[in-house]
Symmetry: C3
Subunit: 139 residues, 3 copies
């Protein structure tokens, strides 16, 4: 069995953003030399998500509006978490809707995807540099 780990770093000025990281994950699979296995991709920060969906700008705006309805950023006083001095209580909720991680099959040395699957990093609290873990195991 082989294993391979890589951390990807991101920085985006907006508070909320979705970044397509498919190529970087595919590159990690290539570097790993693993042909058959599983690839875990997870946000390392607890106010961020890794998810798979469509790379369509309108959809991403729909997600932002919808997440804001389900877990509004303001008033920040509505979240007990923000009494710790944070203002990102909403981001911890949004991240649960969109998920922490994806696990993708690796087949014949590539991410084994459906026709429109793309991997996104979603940040809901944009102040810090953020990391994504890629861990691949297989043969």
């Amino acid at each position: 069995m082989k294993s391979y780990k890589k951390e990807l770093w991101f920085n985006a000025p907006e508070r909320i953003a979705f970044i397509n990281i498919t190529n970087q994950v595919e590159e990690a699979v290539h570097e790993s030399g693993i042909k058959e296995g599983l690839c875990l991709v997870n946000a390392m920060h607890i106010t961020a998500s890794v998810f798979i969906n469509d790379d369509e700008r309108g959809l991403h705006k729909d997600y932002k509006r919808w997440l804001e309805e389900l877990a509004p950023h303001e008033p920040i006083s509505q979240y007990l978490h923000n009494r710790t001095g944070e203002d990102n209580g909403d981001a911890h909720l949004k991240r649960q809707i969109m998920g922490r991680e994806v696990v993708v099959a690796v087949t014949a040395g590539r991410l084994d995807f459906g026709p429109w699957e793309q991997i996104f990093y979603g940040k809901f609290d944009g102040r810090r540099r953020k990391r994504v873990m890629v861990k691949i195991i297989g043969e």
Copy 2:
């Protein structure tokens, strides 16, 4: 290490449906010959989900009503995504609530489940034939 991949195909006339696929996944585990490992089951379409819950008809109706409240299908004009000519903006949101994938332990050649766990394919946009990926790795 062994690995095994199988694609399952589904077609159901309803726009929204939950299909119990536990037996087909169990069959794939059997075919793989893998006794100890992990089994990934994921929707290959981005308006569909794979999730684990109870096979109870009332609950499935509760899920449908609840998902419709959280992300209504109509008016379809409320989703920017639908300006691409689609009418399935809501399905991309519903799928995030119910999830893309499950990972199940394989122990002694079987899916290692809790007492009521059953695997479902959830479709929220029923127009096309849909695929599920099963990837098993282990020994």
Copy 3:
């Protein structure tokens, strides 16, 4: 390839509770002797969740309030599932928001975490003893 399985048992008097199980999962990784691999942690009951987030008391109260807004416990008659004699229809919905499972990288014999990641067992229907599955594969 090695594999290791362990079941963790929990009992908490409250209907809804979040229990930090990070140390118990870390202990299972240690017992497994696996240095590089993947660790699956999943709820075995379908009204419970395993998720990763912050160990901050205010945040956990925020989650409880928010989940109660998204899927209220009462009136219990609003859920068709409760016609089976249950009163936990809401718990099946809450669990979908918070998720069934997490998959964590194992690197150098330890859970490979971001700075604030902690694993929680979330129960939304507290009447019975509940189990969590830990399955680790790797080398």
